[in-house]
Every structure is written in structure tokens, then in C-alpha cells.
Amino acid sequence: MKKGSALTRSATSGAAPPEQGAPGPGAAPEGPGPTGPSRAVRVLRYLGGRLFTAAVSLAAVLVTSFFLFRILPGDPVRAMTEGREVTVEQMEELRRQFGLDRPLWQQFADYCLGVLRFDFGTSYQYRVPVAELIAERIGPTVLLAGTGTVVAALIGLVLGTRAAWRRGSAGDRITTAVALTLWSVPSFWLGLLLIVVLASGVGWLPGLFPTSGMATPGVEGAFDSALDVAHHMVLPVATMVAVVYAQYLLIMRSSVLDEMGADYLTTARAKGLRDALVLRRHAVPNALLPTVTLIFLNLGRVLGGVILIETVFAWPGLGSLFYSGLRVPDLPLVQALFVLFASAVIVMNLLADLVYPLLDPRVRT
């Protein structure tokens, strides 16, 4: 068991959050109860600290975002007019429209003032406010990546628990091997494979799903549209789940394995509880803690994390928007998306920090 545990630990170390400095696992034993007024102070200090860290990170992201994309080589106006019959005057007009003819410090000042008003400017390519573009695309991304994350987490948790409970069995080895294999598969390749087999149809197998996109043009009515979107979602969600569920499985498996030798499980068994109950009531709730953290971290990455899958399936989400913006570079667009992606991670981390004490009483001290 220990061997298996060590293995999975190292396999998942990339996804696991780093150890927190305090309060360490070996912290002084807690008193019998809350220690009066100082507890409220501690909670406030904890909250304040987390909020402050998050705010600093956010400010750093805002500044980085402006300069990061200006370091990229290439000129947006030249890229946009490539292959077009334009005069020098037309290119100057574009520069003027984009504000690229102004000194850098002035552009930066405008950007900062705009951000304060949640105004990220107008996209060079699409000619509409960036906020509108993002509002249009965020729904599909949340739908696809959110569904994928939830399904992957559920599958990962269930299979991981079972694998740990029957560690070393054929079932464990097969589940883990399959998950790891799928994890190492490039998502765009798996997506294409699914399109060829399940969307185009191979041999006697008819094409069951649409090859790509989110909706069939011309479908109307709430029910038909919902059905149509669900139909289009099956393959991209399946691709995403197949590629990412392994991390939940491995974390869950190693967490349950960590609990396996614990005394309280022996106690529970000694009380005559059935094996399934010992697992469900005692082992799983404790083992869930690291997985919850992982889910929160991944929810933060949901917004920007499925760019390749969105590309293969032509899913009209933020990932493909970012990709189309980077090629120009469409500065207002990529800046805003960078800020959005980064703040989603920051906010989710903050939430994880805030929720964690509720789940795990030991952190509260």
C-alpha cells in the first residue's frame, strides 16, 4: 500500500497545491474549545490576509497584462491588413483608431483608467467593445468546461475511491492505467479521433454526433435548441472528461490510501460497520479535502483551460477567442482575457482558502 501511495503522490505532485506554512500538521494541540474574543480576531486576520494577498496578485496581473502583450513581436495594424490592398493613409488611420499612435505611457494611463471603469476598450478585429465579446463567449465556455469539470470530478472521485479501496487488485491497476493513458493523450488528437469515429461514422457505424460547433444554424424553440446544444456537447465534453479525470482519480486514490491505515477506521470496523459504510462515512469525507482544493483550482482554470478542445470542435468560447486575438495581437482583447483568466484563478484560490476552514476544523485554529 505504501508503495502505491508514494507512486501516486509523485504522479500527482504537479497538480497538488504546495504545503501551507502554518498551522502545520504538528501544531500544538488545540484547546477544548474556541478561546473567546481572540478567535474572532484570528478569523478576521485570516480573512484580511487572504483578501490582501488576492488584491496584490490582481493588481500585478493588471499591470503585467498591459506590458506582456506589447512585448510580443509584430504589429497589429500590419497583421490585420496583411494581403489587403491598403494605402499608407489607411494604415495610419487604423493606428489612430486603435490609439497606437500615442506614447506608451499615455496608452498605459488610458488602460488603467479604463480598467477602473471595467472598460477594456474595443477589439481591433471585431470592432465591438471587448466586454461585449467576452459576455457573448463566456456562456459556451462555462457550459462546456463547467460540465466537463463536474463530470470528470465525479467520475474521478468514484473511480479513485474504488481503486484505493481495492488497491493492488486487477480493477485498481486497470482503472489507474487507463486513466493515466488517457491523461497523456493530447486532447486535440483524441477529439479528432472521436470526430472521425463517432461523428463521421466508420464502416457500419453511422455518425451519431455533429462534427463540431455548438448549434445547428436554423434550429429554433427552447426545447429543440437545448437538445441541439446537448447533442453538440457530447463529444467535446467526452474529450475533456477523458483527458482530465485522471488527476481527480489519482488525488482521490492517494488520499483514500493515506486514510486506510488510520486508527479511526479500525475503530469503525471494530464497531461492526460494514465495509462500504466505513468507506463512505469515515474514509471518504477526510480524503475529499485535497480533492476539493483541486476542484476549486481547476474551476479557476475553467475559463481559459480548454482552448485546444474548443479549437478542434469549433466551440465558440473564450479559448478560441483568445487564440484569434493572439494571432493579431488584438491587444485590448488579449489583455482583458488575460486579466479575466488570471482573476478567475485568484478568486477561486481565495474561495478555496475561505471554504477550507469550514470543511476542515483543524485549519481554523
Binding site: 504546495p18 490592398e85 479528432l192 424553440g221
Partner: protein, 625 residues
């Protein structure tokens, strides 16, 4: 944010004492209910598709596109996809004929020119209407051109067309008069979408208007009725189009980000037409039932340019191009080291033509070929002899040194997002080594390449243009006038400047009376370009397309024969396409397969859940014993 892994717990979150809920039956019941709901959903959907299909006579032509639309505002749109859609929505004054690429009347049925060539009078066709029923008059083109001349935002995309205009007036409802500053030969190739004045005069800011008030009022064979950003654009046929209603009732452009997924959609019949295929994709579709592959002559040329010593219009030199490249002998020797047939075979799998002049073979009016001793054909021995004679000595490592003592080590910039350029670049390294030139292959991001070009910090660089039926623009970028006023602002792409070429350019532009004489000037310009060997065209790649012949019975290529369907100068392939008898359309609502597919997915999910429950129950039963 650091978060602690829990240490070995001392107590569980949920007290063990708490009475447990009954494990099996209730949960199973829940799962059963979920399964039943899923099946009911699938079954209930069975009735829906019939309603969603619409009338049986409505035929849809679905075209796969590889770019999302930037904007539907024709004054701003830059991408080929958007301008192609606008060609189907807004007729220009004069269009390009489908078969010959020659100018043919569109909104204007005839035209006349004053003696001095400075005033052009167009007669607007009678009885045409916008799709909202308003008549089309000379006021509409007058409004469109005047907007572009007065409002710099309206000139964003097509301002080059009116750069030489003095004044545009609607003399009466059917007469449009354009006065020019200088005579120009391109007055029949003003490929500008003409918009309805009664709609656009209400637009306050041309730079911000999205033109998404559906249905969009237009004059072409189709009108835009819907746009799902990054997904699809839907157009409906205009039954009152003056050339006659198109064969398909609906035209849908569907966006694909991945080319292979696009090919699969064509294979399945979800789209009727897919363009821009690679040779491998075209080969895989060849001979498939219900699919026709169209191997068309290309509009594009692929070329590399040699830095001849960059300078501004005032003659100020800048950049760091290799000094030896200012020698024409060396540039010509480089051309002679390249085997164009090898490029055609190895890079394009035969789907290309070895290039001769600057303008692709598909435009036979302007096509030019070098003859006799002027030809710089593949001949490495002759190239080596030329270099030996010119004093380029070969060093011990096989690399030559120029008479001025500079080692012939050249940087070559290649676009890393263009597989054909990347392959050609690799071949170049080998071929140039054959004549004692060492190439530093820099396959880079297009942004890096563009910076190198505008800063003139390159030796060899790849380029390519899609040439329009009127080649004025692509010729103009190699005049001295296209050199930068100050470093970094060049209009051209090669720092080429030649007096003879410039004189010929002026002559062809002013030759509005005699098209044959103009073509003659253009051929002479190509001869100059070829001999100077700064802009070196190597191939004309074919355009590979495929369409569902079980959905499209017939359609129109441009030029005919041998032309392309996607990216035409006109709307012919869409407006003249006829639906196949009894064919299954690419469009339509959720089919029976939607239900089957979702049901299959539901079965997998529910089945998996049931299996888990059963196994768990079995395990629990074991425990009990």
C-alpha cells in the same frame, strides 16, 4: 494560495455516531428516476425534428469557413471571409465576369469616359430594388463613395479605391459621374460594396456600426439574416435579384477552427463545400461517393524576396541586409540554384505550377514568361560559373566569400504558420549550399518576420500575394513610391526601386483607353522584376476544394474552366449553384441521429452508474454474510 493537506485525521468530519441513512434502495431509486428522465427526454425529442426541418422545398447551401467573421460592416471588414460574404450581399458598380474575369456590368449597365479620361459616367440599371423594396439609384453609389472620401473611418477597408477621386455626383437617378485627379485604368475594377443611402445615412459613426440589423438591406443575390459569432452566418436568397433568384433558398457559412474537422464535416455531408484543402486532404477525398474535388488554378503566388539594400524614399540606407546582395549577379545565381519543379513535387505534391512571371497563369491577359537567354532556369553549374567569374571565391568550408570579403552566410525568414513555406525553406537551405551559400534558416512567428522585414534586418524573406483580376495594386507595391518615407513605414514588401519599372507603372495606370496596350506595359514590368531578381516568384499553388455533388448539382467556377469556387471575385459559385435533385441538405434541425446520439450517451452514463450500484450492492451483500 497554499493550502494544507490534512494530516492523518484524528476525527472524521461527519461523526460516526450519527445514524446512517439506509444505503441501497433510496439511492437506487434516485438513479432509476434519473435514467427514466433521460430516456423520456430522448423519446420526447423524437417528435421534435419534423417541426424543425422547415418547408421541404427550402434548400440550404452550407459552406465551411476557416476564419471567424471580423465585422459585417463593409467599410471596416478586412478578412477574406467577410469580403466574400459582402460580395453576395452588395453588388458593386462593375463586377468581374464569372468565366473570363473581365469587367461586366453590375449596378452599372454601361459606362462612358471623357476625352481626357478624367470623367467617368456610369449608367445605373433601371428597375433594381434594395431588399427592403426601395429603388436603387445613382444616389446610392454617390453616397458610398462620398462617405469614403470624407470620413476616414469609412475609408478604413477600401479607401485605396477612392484615393484618386476628386468628386462623385449623382447627376440624376440613373447617372453617376466620377471625376478623377489623374487618369486611371482601374475604373472598371472598383471592387467596393455599394450600400443603400436610406439606411446608411442614419449611421452616425461608421467606425462603430456593426451592420447587424437583420435582415441586412442589400442589393445582391443573398441577404444576411443571422450571425452567431464564431459559429455561423445565415443568408437568405433575394428573390428579386436583377439577375434572377439564386437556386438555393439559404446560404450558411459555418466556421471551423480545425481543418481536419472541416474535412470530416464534408465527408459526413454537414457542409456542402470546403476550400483551402491540403494536397493530402484533397487526395483522401478524391473518388469518394458524393464528393467532387475541384483542383483549381491559384490566385496566389509564392515568392521570396532578396534584400537589395534597403533605403528610404530620400535614399537613406538602413537595416543590415547582406551587402553582397546588392550585386544582381549574386541574386540571379540564387534564382538559378532553385529547382521550381522540385518545389512543386515535394512541397505541393504536384498541386501547383512552377512560376514564371509575377502574375499567376490564371490571368492570361497579363501572364508573362521569360524567353531565351533571359530565363533564369535551374542550373547550379551555370550559377557556380557565374559566381566564380564575378569573383566570389569558395573557402575551405565550401562557403563563398564576396569580392569585398564578406562571407556568404544569409539569413532566411520563413513564416512558421505556413507549412508550404516551411517545407520550401528547408529545400532552399540545401539548394543554396550547392552554390556555396550558407543559409541560416529562421522559421519564425509571422510577427517576428514582419518586424525583420520592416526594419530591413533580413537577407531572404518569404512572401506571397493573392492577385486580383486587376493587378494594379500588387504591381504598385514595387514602385519607388512604396519605399518607406522613414524606416518602418514601407507600403511595399521588397525595397525594390527601379526607374524603368516606375515609368511603365505610370503608363499602365494611365492607359485607360487600350486594354491591350496596358497589358503590354504590365508584361514589360514583369520582365524588369524578373531580371532584377529581387522579387522572385517560385510557384503558383493550386486551390484545392471539394464539394458534395449530392447536394450541389452544378455550380460556377471562376475563371471557367479551371477556376475556383471559394474566394471568387464575385458571388458566382453561390448565386449560380443549383441544388441536387432529392439530395439531403447539410442544414436542418436535429435529425433522428440527435436523438440516437444523445440516447447512446445517456445509455453509457446510466449504464455505468447502474453497473456501479449493482457491484456495490453485491459487495455489501458479501459483507453481510
Amino acid at each position: 494560495m497554499p493550502i494544507a493537506f490534512p494530516p492523518s485525521p484524528t476525527r472524521s468530519l461527519r461523526p460516526a455516531r450519527r445514524p446512517g441513512r439506509p444505503a441501497g434502495p433510496r439511492r437506487t431509486a434516485l438513479r432509476g428516476a434519473a435514467a427514466a428522465a433521460a430516456l423520456a427526454l430522448a423519446a420526447g425529442a423524437g417528435a421534435a425534428p419534423a417541426a424543425a426541418d422547415g418547408g421541404a422545398d427550402e434548400r440550404t447551401l452550407t459552406v465551411a469557413i476557416s476564419q471567424p467573421v471580423d465585422t459585417l460592416n463593409p467599410f471596416l471588414a478586412q478578412l477574406l471571409i467577410s469580403t466574400s460574404i459582402h460580395k453576395a450581399v452588395y453588388d458593386p458598380l462593375v463586377a468581374y465576369d464569372a468565366e473570363t474575369n473581365e469587367p461586366t456590368g453590375a449596378l452599372a449597365e454601361s459606362w462612358d469616359t471623357s476625352e481626357d479620361g478624367l470623367t467617368w459616367t456610369y449608367t445605373i440599371r433601371d428597375g433594381m430594388t434594395w431588399t427592403d423594396g426601395e429603388p436603387i439609384t445613382a444616389e446610392d453609389p454617390a453616397f458610398t463613395f462620398n462617405a469614403m472620401m470624407e470620413d476616414s473611418e469609412a475609408a478604413t477597408a477600401n479607401g485605396n479605391a477612392v484615393a484618386n477621386f476628386e468628386k462623385v455626383t449623382a447627376v440624376d437617378d440613373s447617372t453617376l459621374e466620377i471625376e478623377l485627379a489623374e487618369p486611371q485604368a482601374t475604373m472598371l475594377s472598383l471592387d467596393v460594396p455599394i450600400v443603400p443611402e436610406h439606411v446608411w445615412s442614419e449611421v452616425e459613426d461608421f467606425g462603430e456600426f456593426t451592420n447587424e440589423d437583420f435582415p441586412v438591406v442589400g442589393s445582391g443575390p443573398f441577404t444576411i439574416t443571422g450571425h452567431e459569432p464564431n459559429q455561423s452566418i445565415t443568408l437568405e436568397a433575394n428573390p428579386d435579384y436583377w439577375r434572377g433568384a439564386p437556386g438555393f433558398e439559404r446560404l450558411v457559412f459555418r466556421y471551423f477552427a480545425d481543418k481536419d474537422a472541416e474535412v470530416e464535416a464534408l465527408r459526413k455531408g454537414e457542409v456542402s463545400l470546403a476550400a483551402g484543402l491540403t494536397p493530402a486532404q484533397a487526395d483522401s477525398l478524391e473518388g469518394q461517393e458524393g464528393i467532387t474535388v475541384n483542383n483549381a488554378t491559384g490566385k496566389r503566388f509564392q515568392a521570396f524576396t532578396i534584400n537589395p539594400g534597403a533605403q528610404t524614399q530620400d535614399g537613406e540606407e538602413f537595416g543590415d541586409g547582406h551587402p553582397a546582395l546588392q550585386d544582381k549577379t549574386l541574386r540571379q545565381a540564387i534564382m538559378m540554384a532553385i529547382d521550381k519543379d522540385e518545389l512543386v513535387e515535394n512541397v505541393y505534391g504536384g498541386y501547383a505550377e512552377p512560376a514564371e512571371g509575377y502574375i499567376p497563369k490564371r490571368y492570361d491577359t497579363y501572364y508573362w514568361e521569360p524567353e531565351g537567354e533571359d530565363r533564369l532556369d535551374f542550373d547550379p553549374d551555370a550559377a557556380n560559373a557565374m559566381l566564380d567569374e564575378a569573383g566570389y571565391e569558395t573557402g575551405d568550408d565550401g562557403v563563398r566569400t564576396s569580392p569585398d570579403g564578406d562571407r556568404l552566410e544569409l539569413r532566411m525568414h520563413v513564416h512558421n504558420d505556413r507549412p508550404d513555406y516551411v517545407s520550401m525553406g528547408k529545400i532552399f537551405v540545401e539548394r543554396l549550399a550547392d552554390i556555396g551559400i550558407e543559409v541560416d534558416n529562421r522559421t519564425v512567428d509571422p510577427g517576428v518576420l514582419s518586424d525583420a522585414l520592416y526594419d530591413a534586418e533580413y537577407d531572404l524573406i518569404w512572401t506571397g500575394w493573392s492577385v486580383n483580376p486587376d493587378p494594379d495594386y500588387v504591381l504598385g507595391i514595387h514602385t519607388c513610391d512604396a519605399l518607406p518615407e522613414e524606416p518602418g513605414t514601407m507600403r511595399g514588401d521588397a525595397y525594390f526601386c527601379n526607374e524603368e519599372y516606375d515609368e511603365l507603372y505610370e503608363r499602365q495606370l494611365a492607359e485607360w483607353e487600350d486594354p491591350e496596350q496596358r497589358a503590354e506595359y504590365i508584361k514589360q514590368m514583369q520582365a524588369v522584376l524578373y531580371e532584377e531578381a529581387v522579387v522572385n516568384v517560385v510557384t503558383y499553388a493550386n486551390t484545392m476544394e471539394a464539394y458534395r455533388s449530392d447536394q450541389i448539382a452544378s455550380t460556377q467556377v471562376q475563371p471557367d474552366p479551371g477556376g475556383n469556387l471559394w474566394g471568387q471575385d464575385g458571388h458566382w459559385s453561390f448565386s449560380m449553384a443549383e441544388p441536387a435533385e432529392g439530395g439531403q441538405d447539410a442544414g436542418g434541425g436535429p435529425s433522428g441521429w440527435a436523438v440516437a446520439g444523445i440516447a447512446a450517451a445517456a445509455v453509457v452514463v446510466v449504464g455505468g452508474a447502474v453497473l456501479l450500484v449493482l457491484r456495490r450492492r453485491a459487495a455489501t451483500a458479501e459483507d453481510r454474510e
